[in-house]
Symmetry: D2
């Protein structure tokens, strides 16, 4: 290690000073080895980037590395293509399984499609947050297997904001997965907002990107249908909601976020459902926000790191 | 209904004024019908009892009645045998499935036995609370299937307080259920404080009274062994503890109390266990306190009312 | 106390059997004495009313009585005027400070006015719950001191549902309290949904009924303006919201409900505000629902009983 | 930024492989500038250290830098004196206000003194955790201004573990601050476990190191004495406990940790106190554990960063 005098002789990093200073987010996942943070941060600093936030995680029992860095930089000095190239080089060097850099203020917003069924409390809540600017996404379309009258609040809202709404009446024999794939193929990820159809493994593989689901139960308890009724019948004193990535295994994908609320003998099935709906809205919104901020990373086969 | 003038002509209840005023707790469970609260409260009032607290619960969908009343009364005026007779009469009248009256300051404390294994955090916590006067029970004995050295904190504590300690080394072939039954037959209920043996249906039937267990998982998730590891492997973001009545079905009995805490990718199996232990202590202690205050009633086949 | 045989000889209460069976809620607050529960429940039973829920509370240190009873009855057998008369008689008999009976399915809904300012997240949340049938009130009008464009979501919603909206631009010199009084005089209670004007003691006295406010801070911390900033500057690790009755003392009235959420050094003032808004919506909605169900009673000078 | 081929030509960091691999924790606080993470991590990597965890925080509105890094290294390769020198050089280079490196498995444990008064639930809880190996400190002594009989559980425990216990009966005129200073001068920090005396500014300055206090109220509400009673009289629905650094301002120092629990009209002053005690134990223990893990840093004049 260099002494202070030696340090001062090093051509020191010059900070970003441009008027177009903005922040970038970089997430990285690779086999662990010595020097990853050093090289990532040296790359950023050499371009005048000022790191404001770093989260690094290496599990005790496994030589894998996860990081999320947020840095301030001047795109005039470190343009998009150079930014991406630099991180690609690092990704190659470290054999990274994942290396993503995003500049929220410059990059296009994440494009999502939202799938819903009859219960639309989660959909409505997402739309309200989106309208408030709290959900930094573009909503490509809303797909529903429940038929809504055209004068309902949701339909009106979507019309007013120019968001296409598609009614695809699923049946036992037809899940309309082809149509859905066509409608969503240019999205960055999917949100199942109490969408009550199971997407097949074929769909998931064809879509190829992340699908986030809100399950109205505290997984791994109460998988499948009517989790509120399952919970009610089980006599639990806490009910919950779970946001998770969708895999072929029903309600089995990696968990992102969970929330609970108390119930007692005084709760009816109806109040179980109402309390659950309140949790579902918050749980789904939080998970989506975290995901958009690149805080959510797949970890092992069925877990997540949520920075 | 009588008019105010008529009411005043009625010989009105005279309050308890004796120096020995104390409080009684009555719990009642019977098929629902009109007039139960009227008769229970009229009985109490006719004896000068002053009701301070009543909880009544009749589920929407089932004609069953549960109540818990706390009343101030003068034992000089309403002695124990009359108190019990009066409530017995009401119990017969309403075909009650359960009618219990307790006078905490006069009746003997509940007598319990505590069963433990190697992990003694719950046992130690109960003993400390008991010593502080926060656990209104008499501890008849502590039974363990783990061999503790005689100079450990727990053994010393039990010796100092004159609480017998029995080491019964269970094996696959011998659960010592006969010995345990003998040791605990005069107790009012049993507490399994992380006792890692399954009590057989035969034991439960022979014992015949309530057995309360702390399960270090959020039931119905993670039944059985190593729930912390099950939770860790499942990638949950919330872990919990559950206190429940023991039935023949492993970890399946009616739930009394549940508590949760957050976990994240940063938690190791060790911290899962530590967080769980913190929850278990609180969850078990709360359930036992509620039980001693007659707040916990069996409800349907697998639930509880906890007033 | 009568023996079972004596009990059976009593002309026993006959249950309500009419097809128009509905439920009534009665709350009662009077000086404590022996026999109140007996007389209340005997009154209900004598009319065939079946008590489904009772909460009684008499504080340890003060001879005051609070109860809330829910009972099923047949209005054909116990009509409105008799119902009210019977409870009035009991109220006179016991010198009750409060005796209210409501039959939610038959009585007119509570009529409320909602006052809001610029931040409308609470208003929007209430309107959505109201539309969903979760807020059992009639919204007489919405009054705002913030000027909203006519094409905003809120204004459209109110128009569509025929709810009058009044913009009263308050200034230092003019709070428009006279106009507000006129607009709200026929309401049952007022809801201040982040209404940023202080109602004067004169207004409160003239209005004479309950006013419920949501304060975006965990009282008694952070009274007054910008509680999120106050909390942010104070370096707290928990922020909260408080619903309370409004008195002349700013943010000093009896607390009804409080909720908290964690914050850390990573939270900015903006995220403090967002987390607070999420709490405010839930906290206000819960308090209003409890209030409509007659669960909230004034207790001592500055507290509440919330059954 | 170098291309992959250039990167591979760089003499790459060689990992620590010694059998004595252990982990080190480094915390750093300095004026923000570009390149701090780069230099810190490069230093660690150049010595074969493998970073397992990094937390970096730079507030949006202030150019100050905080980091906490955990790295695996081989003391045979990077001995203590070199370790400290290297970080000192970096501290000088960046004008750090704080730079601390600890090697928990090799360095002496933190030495603390615990001050208590009559209520000893926090003291007992800390002693139990310490005995369980959950509190990685050496307890230099326990000082109390409450006179305990020699056969109490606490005194026995301290005797058995060879921890000196000093009874210093404080009066209005004499806080024994000189004696306390002498007894604690070689400690690393102090823990006030419900110590009911206010330490003077002179004491704090003379001691010069951190003093951690548990306040049995949710600051900034209910400063000073009897916060449970203050909360009870205020009619709150949530009570809490706060751990904070002690400053001259009574209960005003930077907050480290806060926890809450619900209360209702049914709670008496006694149950307020009991619930509070349960919170105090957990809140204090968590804060001390975080502090020992170097997670707690002073931030601005009255806040903390808690990684």
């Amino acid at each position: 290690m260099k002494s202070p005098s030696e340090l001062s002789r090093v051509a020191f990093y010059t900070p970003a000073t441009g008027a177009t200073t903005t922040h970038g987010i970089h997430v990285f996942h690779c086999p662990d080895t010595v020097g990853i943070v050093a090289k990532l941060s040296e790359c950023i600093a050499s371009r005048g980037g000022n790191i404001h936030c770093v989260d690094v995680f290496v599990p005790d029992n496994k030589p894998v590395f996860y990081s999320r860095s947020v840095f301030l930089f001047d795109p005039a000095r470190w343009p998009k293509d150079a930014l991406e190239k630099d991180f690609q080089n690092l990704a190659k060097f470290f054999n990274a399984k994942k290396s993503v850099v995003r500049v929220p203020d410059l990059d296009p917003k994440y494009k999502i499609a939202v799938l819903a069924s009859k219960q639309d409390h989660c959909l409505v809540d997402l739309l309200y947050r989106w309208q408030e600017g709290r959900l930094p996404v573009d909503i490509s379309c809303v797909i529903s297997n429940h038929n809504r009258a055209s004068n309902t609040h949701v339909i009106r809202f979507l019309e007013r904001h120019g968001i296409p709404y598609y009614y695809l009446p699923t049946t036992l024999g037809n899940k309309h997965e082809e149509e859905i794939l066509n409608l969503v193929e240019d999205t960055d990820f999917l949100v199942l907002a109490r969408y009550m159809q199971i997407l097949s493994g074929r769909f998931l593989e064809a879509y190829g990107k992340d699908v986030i689901n809100i399950h109205h139960g505290l997984l791994p308890s109460f998988k499948g249908g009517h989790p509120s009724k399952q919970a009610y019948d089980a006599g639990v004193k806490l009910i919950g909601a779970t946001t998770h990535f969708v895999t072929e295994e029903l309600d089995g994908g990696p968990i992102i976020e969970q929330m609970v609320e108390s119930v007692s003998h005084r709760d009816t099935l109806e109040s179980f459902v109402q309390k659950s709906e309140n949790l579902e809205k918050q749980c789904l919104a939080r998970a989506i926000k975290s995901y958009c901020e690149l805080r959510v990373l797949h970890y092992e086969s069925n877990k997540t790191v949520v920075f």
